[in-house]
Symmetry: C2
Subunit: 159 residues, 2 copies
């Protein structure tokens, strides 16, 4: 069962355990979770919402961690490559990964009203798209699966 992101939960604990998992990942793979990268990840994880690169940059620079776009983009690049964050293509925005480490092909539920994002799993090869790819002789390397709509909370408030 998934989509804890849309439900009430102990978010402080959620963040703590995710950060721990991220650190473990980095340690295991010899990646350096430097202060900027660490803080960027914390900011992305602080809500289950998609944040633009410039939003992230604003947070970082408010804390004295770099003032120019490349700072944010480099941190995001690292986090995405390390599987600690994901890019939401439909929004040109970024979200912290809630299952760092598990090698996964993520799929997202994105609320168009509050920009909350929940992460689910896909199996690219098992889908109809996988069938089409096989039939066409196409080799899938990366897949983007995103569904936009309304989260439960925003449905209720009629947003």
């Amino acid at each position: 069962m998934s989509a804890i992101e849309f439900r009430d939960h102990d978010h402080a604990a959620c963040m703590r355990s995710t950060m721990q998992a991220a650190e473990a990942q980095c340690a295991a793979r010899g990646l350096r979770l430097t202060p900027v990268r660490r803080r960027a990840l914390e900011i992305l994880l602080s809500e289950h919402r998609a944040l633009g690169a410039y939003d992230l940059l604003a947070h970082l620079s408010a804390e004295g961690l770099g003032a120019q776009p490349p700072v944010a983009y480099r941190a995001l690049d690292f986090l995405v490559k390390a599987g600690l964050a994901h890019k939401i293509e439909a929004l040109n925005a970024y979200v912290g990964c809630v299952h760092p480490g598990e090698d996964h092909a993520p799929a997202f539920l994105i609320c168009r009203s509050c920009r909350s994002v929940a992460e689910a799993e896909t199996s690219p090869t098992k889908s109809r798209l996988g069938d089409a790819a096989r039939a066409a002789g196409f080799r899938i390397e990366r897949s983007v699966v995103e569904a936009e709509g309304l989260c439960p909370a925003c449905q209720e408030t009629g947003a």
Copy 2:
């Protein structure tokens, strides 16, 4: 069977029939396929490749059909809303639709080397993502399904 886009085919005939279908669509739904829109669609369909808005604009303005970005974006907006073209979110680029009219939830196979794009079908509600959405009480309104990788031709040339 699908993915004609990656295979040899009579592309002139392919374009002709697609344009006819697009015209029929517009006629049936009272939409106006004006010269700029028509030409934009032809350009998008001239290869099964994703074109950036500014690439399209370059083609259009070379033919005297408008020189500023809004010209291209308005044409694209019309075509996408009418279901005659699709946006490829992973590339911020656009591609002509090869089955205009059929109400469909498209999925794409995108070659990272030559930017060729083949269109397939998804059933958002039937996928694992659909299951996750239902379980979470999330209402899907639009879905983006894109797979990046290598098309058969680019696999051979070792691109």
